[in-house]
Symmetry: C2
Subunit: 420 residues, 2 copies
Amino acid sequence: MLSLLDLLRRMDAGTLPPDGALALCREAIAAREPEVEALVHLDETARPGAAGGPLAGIPLGVKDIIDVAGLPTRMGSPLYEGNLPRADAAIVAMARRAGAIPLAKTTTTPFAYLDPTRTRNPAVPDCTPGGSSSGSAAAVAAGMLPLALGTQTGGSVIRPAAYCGVAAIKPSARLLPTVGVKCFSWTLDTVGLFAASVQDVAHALAALARRPELALPEGDPLTNHAGIRLGILHQDFAGDPEPEAAAALDEAARAAERAGARLVALESPPLLADAWRLHGIIQNFEAAQALAWEWDAHRDALPPELRGLLDEAQSVDAALYDDARRIVHHAREAARGIFAEVDAILTFAAPGPAPRGYASTGSSRFNRLWTLLGDPCVAVPGLESADGRPVGVQTISRFGRDEKALAAGAFVAAAIAARR
Amino acid sequence: MLSLLDLLRRMDAGTLPPDGALALCREAIAAREPEVEALVHLDETARPGAAGGPLAGIPLGVKDIIDVAGLPTRMGSPLYEGNLPRADAAIVAMARRAGAIPLAKTTTTPFAYLDPTRTRNPAVPDCTPGGSSSGSAAAVAAGMLPLALGTQTGGSVIRPAAYCGVAAIKPSARLLPTVGVKCFSWTLDTVGLFAASVQDVAHALAALARRPELALPEGDPLTNHAGIRLGILHQDFAGDPEPEAAAALDEAARAAERAGARLVALESPPLLADAWRLHGIIQNFEAAQALAWEWDAHRDALPPELRGLLDEAQSVDAALYDDARRIVHHAREAARGIFAEVDAILTFAAPGPAPRGYASTGSSRFNRLWTLLGDPCVAVPGLESADGRPVGVQTISRFGRDEKALAAGAFVAAAIAARR
């Protein structure tokens, strides 16, 4: 994989020219893309800007539900064939300000729902890369891009990161703007980032949000965050994990403890289980409105999973939605309680390793609650199942404390690496 | 003015054909538009749908920052010349579902900020119609349309309604979706409605939101809502009103009291004054991101008020924004207190009647707090200054209780009418 911090250091030191990262990406794309199929458009004219910035010269992948001025934005659907947005999405304009180079649009499941793309998982043959940000996760995993934008409404950032073995963050709700991003659910949609390591992700988030305090300190995370308190949470309300995910969480927790973390076994308050069950009501009520034109005018052109969801979503009652919002409001308060005694939660990033085949992009059941609560989640790579498939874990902190989820993620990743 | 309830009754009774409302609008537009200049595009091909619905046959004006599939959407700016959205905004698709006919795009100040349009106030010569939803307010006031969509980020629905002498609602935050509406501030932007009467507005809101309970009962509001408790609030934190606005609020309150309302003098808690002051920080921090492409790539093409705001907005600190959000979160809780003993607040809709000339669209200082809190506001027409300019008042209820603000608005309007 291409580490953006490594590329920045080399460009800064002059051992890589200012367009060197771009050249490396173009080479890797030429070599890997025919097999991975993570991209829907490559901007042949992309060049580094002159202005510098904390991401100067870093090529960026942009999920194809996010507008880039003058590049096609197709939402993974023929309904948007030939759609050329006039303006950059806010997050893309902010990436340009930071010096990043929007180089490629990456595959998305249609409208970021469950119908799969043709993208392959670069880390394991014949497995889904996950979804809906399939192309962004796969492009980073294949070493074609050092940074890519995705979105999460259920688990569409953390799950594909876990399946492909890369790092990612779904930040606090609205830390990164969704203006110019095709909407599925305005309460849930969250822009996230994929990169090779948790440090890379933290640097990019700090640069894009212009919040320097989010970058991780240099040096060994095991020293920097010594004594970190991690709450182990099994999310029982979301069902049982597969054995590989259970083993990975145990292994991550043991490695973290050996590296000096303090572990706390957490129980989730009943209100969180209630909120978890309400994710679908909020998502579906809003999707029926957000995609009203697509369903009214082009229902037959929608893929089966999405069409089925929207058919069902038409009948979600407003009173049910209002009640769900009230309960979630209280659950957000209740969630603060479980963060009171820990710096971050450590839990499953997905039910297991990437499912075999391409029929399904996997399940978001261990991600949904945190998207709904708006709490920041970091996908931590480094573990594998016995048959060599990546199995991610995730660290989660309370809303607005993204630096804690990142510190915990970096600590756990370093502890996993040190265990060898 | 064209009352949508009256038009619906006549079409329902067969005294007006199904395309009769459309024909009336086309006639009125031909007669009034050359002088008022409220429209930027008229859809010559618009026809009533076959499906019926609670707004069947009702022509609709759509503020030109709201997408209509296949019609130009120009944001009041040459930057979006020739921009043809592929999809309807969610609210437009929902209007079509209800049977409404998107007939015209209405003028907007550029990107819905303060730089004026050329639209004239149909109610008073040589006065601004207010902004930013200038065309929607003016088109309803001129009798060219029975219903029009606007948006409010500061006071852009209630203020032009007050200046033009029409009814309007800025509903609870996110009651109507903003998907497909050009974003200025994702926390503040709210879709609202203009119509001839409060009853018309209530019927349209109920139909668009598919919440039948929001429609007002038939019959006399003075009977239906007898004994309603109105809190008189002067919003001292927002400065003094002009004498005409002060007189109008007194007159509305006296008329309501004579009609049987119970009046309660309210004091606003200090936290509301704090929140009022923070509106600009939240708006500007978000606008700098939402309009990042426009400012980065086309700063010189932006009009002076907007360019000045965005120049200033670049330096709003993230920590200041985070603090503002926290304080506003508490202010939302505090606002519930003032609603505890009343059904609705009655207060100024604008500092005074429409300012003379076209240099300014007026001030949102009596509107900002409620946009920020997300509380529903209803513009109540019917009063005039001594020199014949409309002076609106507004009724406000707590978040999620739009039916109370509407009931109070209908009561006050009826009390004003009964006073003659």
